[in-house]
Amino acid sequence: MTPETAYRTEEFQVNVGPQHPSTHGVFRMVLTMDGERVVDCEPHIGFLHRSMEKMAENRLYIQFLPMADRIDYLSSIFCTVAHCEAVEQLMEIDVPARAKYLRTIMMELCRIASHSIFFGVFALDLGAVTPFLYGFRERELTMDLLEMTTGQRMTFNYCRFGGVADDLPDSFFPTVEKFVKVFPARLDDYDRILNENEIFVARTKNVGTVEASRAINYGWTGPNLRASGVDFDLRRNRPYEAYGELGYEPVVLQNGDCYDRYRARILEMRSSHELIKKCVEGLPEGPVQAEKISKFPKVPAGEVYVRVASPRGDYGLYLLSEGADKPYRYKLRTPSFNNLSMIREMLLGVYLADIVPIFGSLDVILPDVDR
């Protein structure tokens, strides 16, 4: 008997999801396993498909505005910013400087909120429960700020065509000052509890490594791409809103493994914190809403493609208008969809236990995948 035939192992299939603690929603994979090793993986998405694009085509621009919040509910403000930007570009509206700054502050707060959830959930995926609560503690700080400005905690509905819904309340400034002061120390806590943790590093270093060319080929964007060493960030390379005036250096890491994807997000929280500080200091005076914008605009014919750097990557919106009060075509290019499309290739040959950090490190959110 040769060693190969001496013992025969049988492959078996494991169904992961759509209800499973670490698929972060309703994602389903059918795994073919050989013991603890993944032989094949068949991803299934679409459990949360709400046909957002079709709904957009059947609604007024203003009607879809609050719905855009629901596309990616953990970073909802980015979806509405893209929606407003697209309409503004087609209608050629000049947004007042203060409104641009306010949008930028809210986006960066939202980015921190989203990344702190990632921090917590990623640690939870690896079996460490405590960081999860730490992540939510920091999210609460940003949520407070967002809540007092927008009145909402998840789906903010803050942007309007030509500006934002409302100016900052007076209580915002002392609170944001406090936040700016305490936040770096909290991030140091994160470093101490996970980055320097032997087991955490062993679980994530050199796991799920993706080199730059493959990441680009699969359409990866955002922190995932920058963790693979591609020095590109919309906030610097294609500045929109107030980013052009603020000056921003993206976080670029080289290894492209789970550890770097995690680090990229932690470092992005630091740079977001810097941006918020700069924004609040340099906040210009003036109106927060461009004048004479119809609430129910007829958008001139034309097509635009708007890209917004959401926490998950480039959130793209292709808007085709035929001059009516509804979009003719509303294509959402959501970052999670493309980030997730590599999952099969990434999972082949890994241990069952590695599925969780690999999937978690992509930081996909299922409503963003399925739309």
Binding site: E36, T130, F132, I193, I199, A202, R203, A353
Partner: protein, 342 residues
Amino acid sequence: MIVHPVLSWLKDWWVGIVETYGLPTWFVPAAQMVVNAILIAGFIAVLVLFLIWLTRKVSAHIQQRLGPMRVGWHGCVQTVADALKLVQKEDTTPRDADRPVFNIAPFLAFAPTVVAFVVIPFGDGAIVRDLNIGVLFLFAITTINVIAILAGGWASNSKYSLLGGFRSAAQLVSYEVPLILSVLGVIMLAGTMKLGAIVEAQNAMWFVVYQPLGFVIYVIAATAEVNRTPFDIPEAEQELVSGFNIEYSGMKFAMFFLAEFANMFLVSAVAATLFLGGWKGPWLPGEFWFLAKSFAIVLLLMFFRWTYPRLRVDQLMSFAWKFLLPLAFLNLLVTGLILVLM
């Protein structure tokens, strides 16, 4: 110092009864056994309820939460409420499960833990049976736990629980080796396997001073032995959802749970007995010192639990075989050399 006088008073009382009514003489040891069994079962039940509450509180305060606060003072009877809830739960058995094995597994997990408490010295004279092969008995009996987990995982006929069972078998068998090797050092120093005698041998100095490496290895291996984070891969919630006990509900699930927490206390109690001088301590009664030392180790395990992520299955194995085992042998060698040379 508390338990022993009570027990001997009880014994005298029974002897009196036996003499008064002319009962057969085997009645006295029989009655003693029954009382001991009741005492241990009661102790474990109360202990587990307390441990679960403690786990929740410790985890909550580590995570900047309050934990249970509603039922009783700071939620102290919350676990009683939860236990009542579990008892009321429907007892489901999967259609394709291997019924007899499925039903036996939870009790197979719990029984050895109770039996193992027989040789633990809770205080001066407060030991059910001070067997002269106490340590051997202890590790032999707790190993049965593996079979229970494997049986539970297998009989559930679910892939997740099967994977959990396999992982558990691999892990427990691997960590048994460094665990026992680390204890061997203590046995060499004490020259006996009798737990009571081992405690007596630590009269002058705790064995942790002579066996620091052995103690560290023991704590690590024991953490793995009771499936606590960072070695909780058999029940890895995020991968296997809940591992071997995924299909269990109600009282059977509670049995696994009970066994897990009782086991956690057991390994802590053994650590306290073998390395930290057992019930020996100044002024206060021995039972207090024993519990204090055991709970110190329990708290240590809890701090591990709420601080560390989980290891991967291959890392876990290589850690046991490539790191802990050589270290345990080294510890044994050095202990032996010192004993021979001195």
